[in-house]
Amino acid sequence: MSIRGEEQSSDQSLNESLLLLLQKDVGFAMWSNALREPCFCDSWIKLLSLVNAYMFPSEQSNMRKLSSRGCSVGYLDEQFCQVEDLQDEASPNFTEEVVTLFFKDSARLMSNIEQALEKHPRDFSRWDAYMQQLKGSCSSIGASRMKSECMSFRDYCGQGNVEGCMRSFQKVKREHAVLRQKLEAYFQLLRQAGPAGAASRPVM
């Protein structure tokens, strides 16, 4: 089954293909690989619209997991799905609220680190302690690439390598900025796709 073929098909055919993929439980790898290509970005909106229009809530949850992974392959790990799983009808925007909180917290933690790098030269213990907190937050929302860079920074602290710490911190900041862009795009897509409402199966 070709993903490109599905994109060219009617909405009805795409919906049938989606349901088939979910049933076969092979969707994730296929969608992730296919949708890394920029030309498929528009498909996300169509995909999410169909999810909301045609799928039952339990299927929507699965499909959103695929979507969030597809949008952020490599940047987010399974823990992000754990966060999404906490979202329910009582807290319909929970994931976005948590992500917003993460970026607020992480900006503050990074500012602490920046000040420490400037005002406490070679204080590897202090630098490490601050970075440990940032790493913890990254773990909590599944920000895997940011977490890796945090770990790299801590390794350099352990080695007493100032230059390594400085380079690594720049990477942490870059990953932070990229992750913010990706997640903003993801939530924008969700909003464009429309609210999740009661779904009825299409007549096949």
């Binding site: 799983d85 906490l86 909180l101 917290d105 440990q132 907190q133 913890g136 773990s139």
Partner: protein, 133 residues
């Protein structure tokens, strides 16, 4: 989510965590298990709650916090005679396990904690509550 709470009172949880996002996630997870959750933003706030006579069925504490760390708070809580409460150390620092266990914690869970980590601990707490009536 199937969770066996045989009609007993909701488990009372204390979350000791200084980072907002971690606090929110953990509190929400506990909410899924119908826990009554109290928040402390550092070890000293947690100790103060015990000094005020508050009791909890489970404490989930981060390690590195301003004012007082998790292990320091755990040691003080145990020294106060609060030996029955289940205390769980939670940290992204795997080296924190030794610090927490030495201080008197019952368990250590590395961050990030998942619902799957929480469920058996809360089942244990509920069972203990049911047995003690």
């Amino acid at each position: 989510m199937a969770f066996k709470n045989q009609g007993s009172a909701a488990p009372r949880a204390l979350v000791v965590e200084d980072i907002n996002v971690d606090r929110v996630i953990l509190s929400t997870m506990l909410g899924k298990f119908n826990c009554e959750t109290t928040i402390a933003q550092n070890g000293k706030e947690a100790v103060d709650l015990f000094l005020e006579g508050k009791t909890f069925d489970i404490v989930l504490s981060d390690k590195d916090m301003p004012v007082m760390t998790g292990p320091e708070a755990v040691a003080k809580i145990r020294a106060m005679g609060a030996t029955e409460v289940k205390i769980v150390g939670v940290s992204a620092d795997l080296g924190g396990m030794e610090a927490f266990m030495s201080a008197g914690a019952d368990e250590f869970i590395p961050k990030p904690m998942t619902l799957g980590d929480l469920e058996p601990m809360l089942q244990e707490v509920i069972s203990k509550k049911n047995m003690s009536g």
